[in-house]
Amino acid sequence: MRLATLIQEAAAGYYGVFALPYSELLEEIASQILAAGTELESIWVLREGDVPAGVAAAFDASSLAIRRQVSLARFLKRLPREDRRSCLARMQEYVAEIEPYSGDGLYLARVAVSPAYRKRGVASRLMKGLIAEIGGEKIALHVATDNAAAIALYRKLGFNPLLPHAKQIGLFIRYST
């Protein structure tokens, strides 16, 4: 559940679209971790002792669209049928503010750091580990354009925005090295 909490905090805007009770939201996020076909199938965890200090979820970018759909379907099934249509309408509004990506490389779906471990370079270590593990392959990620701290980190790690920045959630890419 700790990992689910971290992941929820890292994408609170997205998860808020479902308007699920918090405990049920966390339960569904937890059930998607390592579940085939979801956005959380593959995760990297940075531990400090026994405690997960940071977590990242990533997969081949070619599967982004279908993974988004699979994860969305799982959340949708938790809602009463009469609430699904309005949830889908909210999701359409949310998606409209995301810069589209249909390219290749690795797609980084979530990066989350536990509040107790913030400002200690956890996200940086986590990302560097991931970059090393995939051998400098191309990576794409989305980040809210007002999240200055995350953007500063991504730029430091070699990510650059794909212009123009017309949406609230922008696309950053780190080309293969």
Partner: protein
């Protein structure tokens, strides 16, 4: 895959009419997602979940996009029913 029965297709049409109430033309087997206003990737998930509920089936992730038109979707549903 054998072509799905009229019964399955009629039931599918009922689901489609509920999910895309603004579509005024007829849902026939040749209709694709591109033909239906509002059938984007998000609405697609709503349709899949509704089909799963009403037909009592479950789509595997790779089956979400394994059909080119409504005829193939009906065939897929029937193969799983």
């Amino acid at each position: 895959m054998k072509e799905s029965s009229d019964k399955t297709f009629r039931k599918l049409k009922g689901v489609l009419s509920d999910v895309f109430p603004d579509y005024r033309a007829s849902f026939d087997r040749a209709v694709t997602a591109d033909d239906v206003p509002g059938w984007d990737s998000t609405a697609h998930v709503g349709l899949i979940v509704e089909i799963e509920d009403r037909f009592g089936i479950t789509f595997e992730p790779e089956e979400y996009v394994r059909f080119k038109n409504l005829g193939e979707l009906a065939d897929l549903i029937e193969s799983k029913s």
